[in-house]
Amino acid sequence: MKPDMTVNIAGMSLRNPVMTASGTFGYGQEFAEYVDLEKIGAFVTKGLSLKPRAGNPTPRIVETPGGMLNAIGLQNVGIDAFIAKKVPFLRTVNTPAIANFFGYTSEEYAELALRLDSIPEIAALEVNISCPNVKQGGIVFGTDPKCAFDVVAACRKSTTKPLIVKLSPNVTDVVAMAQACADAGADALSLINTLTGMAIDLQRRKPILANVTGGFSGPAIKPIALRMVWQVARAVKLPIIGIGGIMNATDALEFILAGATAVQVGTASFINPNAAEQIALDMEAWLTKNNVGSVQSLIGALEC
């Protein structure tokens, strides 16, 4: 018998728990040649802002041991161009699209939430309160429980769609952050966003990234992500989307055991463009082989 791969998160029913992560999958269309979007659970757009954003100068990308740093600087087309040019594609795909977004004040966040709320092609919102790349950006919201509460509460008032808050790992106490978001009305939490890192070109005596520091992602960060998902899952009563270094089905299932209801695949898509689809397939194969009837039965099933 085929195992039941469906999960429910924040009121959405997904065919399987595998999503693609914001910023690593464009607006859905870029990878369409390589991935059957209807074989994954959902996909998340590049982070959106009210106005279009240029992002940082280059180099924006550097490989590090087992991972990479990016300092894209939240380049995006802005909400208007998104609606005009990207949303029509979403209509053609029978898979929930989640809009990731960010702002510079609670008001901006709220305004974006309101605009996204009115787009029927968007299944849910993911608030990025944690981008470490932009100097004036999200950093302050994502590292202080009070600020996080305010911004999430503002978004909550502006949308009735499922509201997912994406947490920053660059904090002393991720559970306190998670709790603040829960208190402010989040429907689900996704974690982790990138850690802040740096790389240096010895010969040129310069930082490699034009922006000096960047967001650290990839397999290297998995142990930190897994730990944070486990900590938050035990402490906060919200569904969790686990993110961080997921490269294969084993990684994904580990996050689910740690307490995640679903997962997002980021950097892995760069290495294998069909990573998300393959992971969903391999998870199902693992469940079949191990006689597990449903992926839901594995959520938080870690025995400590």
């Binding site: 690593t24 279009p52 087992g66 397999p219």
Partner: protein, 272 residues
């Protein structure tokens, strides 16, 4: 397209420069000059990201076994600069590597009447051979190959075999003229009085100079750029380059991987 390619050969063609031939599926035969591939150097996480390389040549591989069917194959020409390329150079015939490609926008061949001037700096020659192969079918083609020293002058015989006239310049004078290859280019342009178009690939400084030369003479000029890449398909926005209208207020970044790597020189913001 994503596929597992078998290495057919991998040999050093000049100190530090290697040429690798790999098998490819049928559809790969349609690869355009200027397109590139993303190579997964190993199956492990070290190195993690794919490495981009221009397509040097596309050919047909005839296996030695009796009865075996012909199969497309392609070549990359690469310089060993770091970990990934060092590991590539240690691979052997019959090893498998994972390939994504052909990717990106290649060269436009342009009108057959103009003379075609190809300018390559060092390993920047890589995507220009397949281009020359196409161009010689319809136009006279000249190659201007530059490098720091003679070891950086690659595959000239291959171009000559196509009937391309080759000019060589090295900064240290160890092969060809002493100086920059743009000097010979300017001389040729003066001679043909601008009845030509330019195709260039190489270090950013050289491309900038070539673009300037072309602009002054209002000559069509296409350049192939590099950029640090993660995805190769326009999804990560890592590889961007400023377009001609770029400013912080009116962002105009182009993806080198998806909108390039070949650009019309006047599409780009050279000052940024």
């Amino acid at each position: 397209m994503q596929f597992k390619a078998m290495i057919l050969s991998n040999a050093e063609v000049s100190p530090g420069y290697w040429r690798m031939r790999l098998t490819a599926p049928q559809e790969f035969a349609a690869a355009k000059p200027g397109q590139f591939v993303m190579v997964r150097v190993s199956g492990t996480i070290d190195p993690l990201l794919r490495r981009p390389f221009g397509i040097f040549d596309v050919a047909v591989h005839v296996p030695a076994q009796a009865g075996a069917v012909e199969q497309p194959c392609f070549d990359i020409l690469y310089r060993v600069v770091g970990k990934g390329t060092a590991m590539l150079s240690a691979l052997h015939a019959t090893d498998l590597v994972d390939i994504l490609g052909p990717l990106g926008r290649g060269f436009e061949l342009g009108s057959p009447t103009e003379e075609k001037l190809i300018v390559g700096g060092g390993v920047g020659l890589a995507p220009l051979y397949l281009l020359a192969k196409e161009l010689v079918k319809q136009s006279p083609v000249r190659l201007f190959a530059g490098g720091r020293t003679r070891d950086d002058i690659l595959c000239i015989t291959e171009f000559e075999r196509l009937g391309v006239e080759c000019y060589v310049a090295t900064e240290d004078g160890s092969l060809g003229e002493c100086g920059l290859v743009t000097e010979a280019l300017v001389r040729r342009l003066d001679l043909v009085q601008g009845q030509a178009s330019i195709f260039a690939c190489g270090p950013h400084g050289m491309l900038n100079a070539v673009a300037g030369i072309a602009e002054k003479r209002s000559i069509p000029c296409q350049v192939s750029l590099e950029g640090y890449m993660a995805c190769g398909v326009g999804a990560c926005l890592g590889c961007v380059t400023p377009g001609s209208n770029h400013s912080t207020e009116t962002p105009d970044f182009r993806c080198v991987c998806a909108e390039g790597p070949v650009f019309d020189a006047n599409e780009l913001g050279w000052g940024c």
